[in-house]
């Protein structure tokens, strides 16, 4: 049981380049999230999804796009990378209360470290 898997684990981009981070979960979770972690700032929510085909903005959505075409996958895209997007990105998922999950109990991937030069 892999849980939440993020691809790639590391990436270096030049300013203006585009890329996509892939998150895959095998727990049949309804909800998925993308967070970024920066020194001294904790984790901040970028975008999230409450089900297949849905997406919504979080706290820091600017410069990112997301898609949830399949329930198990949540993609985070950077159309034109900027140095301010240098960060560690974490994907997370959870079941939701109606499916027996606990409030706030998210399952995180190992993270993807992105550097934009």
């Amino acid at each position: 049981n892999a849980g939440v898997t993020q691809t790639p684990k590391f990436r270096v981009l030049k300013t203006g380049q585009s890329m996509t981070l892939l998150c895959a979960q095998d727990m049949n979770h309804e909800y998925m999230y993308w967070y970024r972690q920066d020194p001294g700032m904790g984790l901040r929510l970028i975008h999230y999804s409450v089900g297949e085909g849905t997406t919504a903005k979080g706290e820091v959505p600017d410069g990112y796009n997301v898609s949830r075409l399949k329930k198990q996958n949540f993609l985070l895209g950077l159309e034109s990378a900027a140095p301010s997007q240098t960060s560690v990105y974490f994907c997370a998922s959870n079941r939701g209360l109606l499916a027996g999950g606990l409030i706030g109990e998210l399952f995180f991937g190992e993270g993807s470290r992105l550097t934009v030069l």
Partner: protein
Amino acid sequence: DQQVKQNSPSLSVQEGRISILNCDYTNSMFDYFLWYKKYPAEGPTFLISISSIKDKNEDGRFTVFLNKSAKHLSLHIVPSQPGDSAVYFCAASASEETSGSRLTFGEGTQLTVNP
């Protein structure tokens, strides 16, 4: 506007002693609070949580205390073990957010337990 704040970036304790990690919040809509633990090169993992209708929740060596009037919560680890050395994140959620669990995290506190 940091709605969840952990004022201590780091904490060092001796093995066997108590570790106390603190967290303050400002948003009165928060009514569910959690602690996550993070080891290097891994994602955060859920540790313990507490609802605002309680003032204490205990799970083995870990106890979370909530003081609603002060908007303050703390995590106690007794006894502390070297394997507890990690970054601890405080997080909060508002139950009005019925769609998913959009957590607001604090900055994290690096706990080091010395043998």
